[in-house]
Amino acid sequence: MSMPLTTLWVVPLIGAGVCALLGVRAKYAALVFSMFFVGLVAGLGVMQHSFAALSVVNEIGPVWAYGISYRLSADSLSIGLIGLTAFLNLICVIASWELEVSAGYWACFLALASALTGVFLARDLFFFYVFWEATLIPMFFIIGLWGSSNRLHAAVKFFLFTFSGSVFMLLAILALVSAHHRATGVWTWDLAVLDATTLGASAPLVFWGLVLGFAVKIPMVPLHTWLPDAHTEAPAAGSVMLAGVMLKMGVYGLLRIALPLFPNLAYESFPILGGLAAFSTIYGALCAMAQTDLKRMIAYSSVAHLGFCLLGVLSRTSQGLAGGTLQLINHGLTTGALFLMVGFMYERSHKRGLADFGDLASRAPYLAFFFGFSTLASIGLPGLNGFVGEFMALSGALATLPILAFAGVLGVTLAAAYALPAFQAVFWAPAGPGSVSDKVTDLDFRERAILWTLSGLMLWIGLAPLPWLAWFEPALRGLVR
């Protein structure tokens, strides 16, 4: 049984086109297409899981010049991340349902989902790059058109930063393809073939070019400066997609391209890259601690969380890889939920500073419950999803370079030090003189439904992580050192 993988990225793209044409009723089309997209991914996942025993689905098109060929493939890692994309995209559509936005808003989200799906499917580096860059365009407009006050600056900064990183990635890819051609006389951009290329002296250059491109996206300190602006200024749903999926592209790139191609270099550079990852966890947490804007605090916490993912993935131990990958999903759910709730608060009060609220727990108990739940998941409370991912990632680092694991543990502690006081200030502390808490009504049914779903998943992964870990395991097996 097979389903053409092309449908996976074409369906949301068609949805984007339909939304753009429909105008006023675009959000209904967006909902239908988002649900259809989720259904497609779920169908593919079920099919792969039950009929083909976690096999890999391929789709290969004809070859164009220089060996560029349309080549898609879906293994469990790809399907997992596409599933996250489809799921969060649907959540975003539902979460934005009451917003008064033009048709372009919905079209941008579907176009973004389409490009992200393409990134996770492409196995030809040319198409990988095309999809990779194509994700920037809808996000640029989402931030620039529907973001908050400083959106103009944030949109351009976001685009310039990530595009600059990608250019290095492109140069590295070109060098790789050229080197393969020189060695074998064959032009190819096929990742599976390029895996076997021996680069010789230029290998470090190619490796670092790729890593630079991915590190900007992840983002790894000190290349993270675009993130706080972009995440803070984007509309709530935009932040969800940005943090929930777009940051994952960088780690995915490492897992899919940099690690398989350069296993030894990745290992040798672990003290540097792992060190930066561990530093990211601490630095992100310290920056988050200093924020007075709730959304900006969550943005910085993303820097810290992605540091854990990296630490696990780069350790190349089985537990580290599994934990780091699971943490990608975890972060998508938890941070997604937090960004959405800040968005709900902002919609009601047009404020999001820590000092603007107080005593919200008595006024909006559901909001307080879900916010607390997500905060606890985010700081890694045992029994919730964050704990599983962070614990496994850190134990992977411990097995490779213990000092980095210790640094990571410090990062976990610091996470509690910024997240809990923030929760306290917003929900429990008495409302200050300028408080807008009375404007914040409690969550309505639609909003609660979204958060029940997200929280349920957090709990599920926290209590029974094994099926999730088993899902990703086949794709990661080959990367273990």
Binding site: V130, A134, F140, G144, L152, L160, V167
Partner: protein, 446 residues
């Protein structure tokens, strides 16, 4: 003789336009139809041109001459559509310039190259002067004319040195320093026309003062012809040393063009510098092509770049013409009031910035990759860097267009929306299906 059919069609067009001009009241419609028909006929007739090498002692028809004729007609077609039918002289000048470019593409030896060069340049000066009334247009045209005159003189000097050395006007492999210097001078003429640093001081003035559609024509058809001119020189003197300097010249040109464009307020001047930046990339491409032993791959990359650029540049200048927007400040917030034109313009900007999935991305990729492959790593990196710098103003314009709120009175867009949209569709098609152009131009896909 069928090889010269396109040129014959254009020559007939020139004569026809002048003849119509003899009437007391020239029929504007007939004149416009004549101009469009001449260019379109030339474009169609290229299909039948056999690739047979030497046609006569002074003309040839090879894969490049055929491919470039497509480019030239493609670049010229928008201006043909824009031209005002009431001015028979302008029409004749325009067709004459196209004929000159077309002859340049088919020139087989150095004197013919020179004649074709002057043939295409002289009408172009007058086009700049006549396209927009006023003193500024005249001043720019005079500047352009003097620059062009100097370039022509350089060529003659170079040609005589070359002849003194080789006693021949055809290709030569064995050059003394005198001959080397001669070829270098001739190459300087080509670089003048392409707009290479530091020989490009005339270019922003000319592009800014001319009517937008004329700037579009100069930056596409004229630039294509000039690039082929440079390539012909590389072929005529395969051992000439100037080719080794091309990547460096191109890199500096690309970088300075991008940096200068950053601070421009007037759109036409901005796109003039942007065209200098793109010219730099092209020169890197020609250098890489020469360094790699003049392969078909290199030709395809340059051809593709020029083809994609024909859409991008003509599209952006058509947008300026259509909307009447002259400065960046006037761009602000126009996305809401003229969504179709603004969306098309945005696509063109993304393509110019080299963002996939557009033709501009493939063009830059192929060209810079040729450089990487020819071990010209630094020029490629600087070329990439200049593309990154250019992103700042392309994105900036996108931001102004969509994210800002409009100030000042609303604009009344003129004709030509369909042309802007057609160009945008063209770059998207080239990005999604790049083989379209390589197949169309008669150069086999690598």
């Amino acid at each position: 003789m069928i090889a010269m059919a396109p040129q014959a069609a254009l020559a007939a067009g020139v004569l026809g336009a002048l003849t119509l001009g003899l009437l007391r009241r020239p029929p504007a419609r007939a004149l416009r139809a004549l101009v469009v028909a001449a260019v379109a006929a030339a474009m169609l007739l290229v299909v039948g041109v056999p690739v047979e090498g030497q046609v006569s002692t002074i003309l040839l028809s090879d894969a490049k001459s055929v491919g470039w004729q497509y480019l030239i007609y493609l670049g010229a077609l928008p201006l043909a559509l824009w031209l005002d039918g009431t001015d028979d002289v302008l029409s004749a000048l325009f067709l004459g310039a196209v004929l000159g470019m077309s002859l340049l593409a088919a020139a087989a030896n150095l004197p013919m190259l020179f004649i074709a060069l002057e043939f295409m340049s002289l009408p172009a000066y007058l086009l700049v002067a006549r396209s927009r009334p006023g003193a500024r247009g005249l001043e720019a045209a005079v500047k352009y004319f003097f620059a062009g005159g100097v370039a022509g003189a350089l060529f003659m000097l170079g040609l005589s040195m070359y002849y003194a050395d080789t006693h021949s006007l055809a290709a030569s492999t064995d050059l003394s320093p005198l001959g080397q210097a001669g070829v270098a001078l001739m190459a300087a003429t080509a670089l003048f026309k392409i707009g290479a640093f530091p020989l490009n001081w005339w270019l922003p003035d000319a592009y800014e003062a001319a009517a937008p559609e004329v700037s579009g024509f100069l930056s596409t058809a004229m630039k294509s012809a000039a690039v082929l001119f440079l390539m012909r020189l590389c072929e005529l003197a395969p051992e000439a040393r100037f080719a080794a300097y091309l990547p460096a010249i191109g890199a500096v040109t690309a970088l300075t063009g991008s940096i200068m464009a950053l601070r421009q307020e007037r759109l036409q001047r901005l796109f003039a510098y942007s065209s200098i930046s793109n010219a730099g990339l092209l020169i890197i491409g020609v250098g890489a092509w020469a360094a790699a032993g003049r392969t078909t791959d290199g030709v395809s990359a340059i051809l593709f770049f020029l083809g994609a650029y024909a859409f991008m540049s003509n599209g952006t200048f058509a947008f300026i013409k259509h909307t009447g927007i002259e400065t960046r400040a006037q761009l602000k917030g126009r996305g809401a009031s003229m969504p179709a034109a603004a969306a098309a313009f945005t696509i063109l900007l993304f393509s110019l910035a080299g963002i996939p999935p557009t033709g501009g991305f493939i063009a830059k990729l192929l060209l810079l990759w040729r450089a990487v492959d020819a071990s010209l790593l630094w020029p490629a990196v600087i070329g990439g860097l200049s593309a990154l710098i250019s992103l700042a103003y392309y994105l900036g314009m996108t931001r102004d267009l969509w994210f800002e709120t409009a100030q000042g009175p609303s604009l009344k867009p003129g004709a030509g929306l369909s042309l802007v949209i057609a160009c945008a569709v063209g770059v998207v098609l080239l990005g999604a299906a790049p083989w379209l152009l390589s197949g169309l131009a008669g150069v086999p896909a690598p």
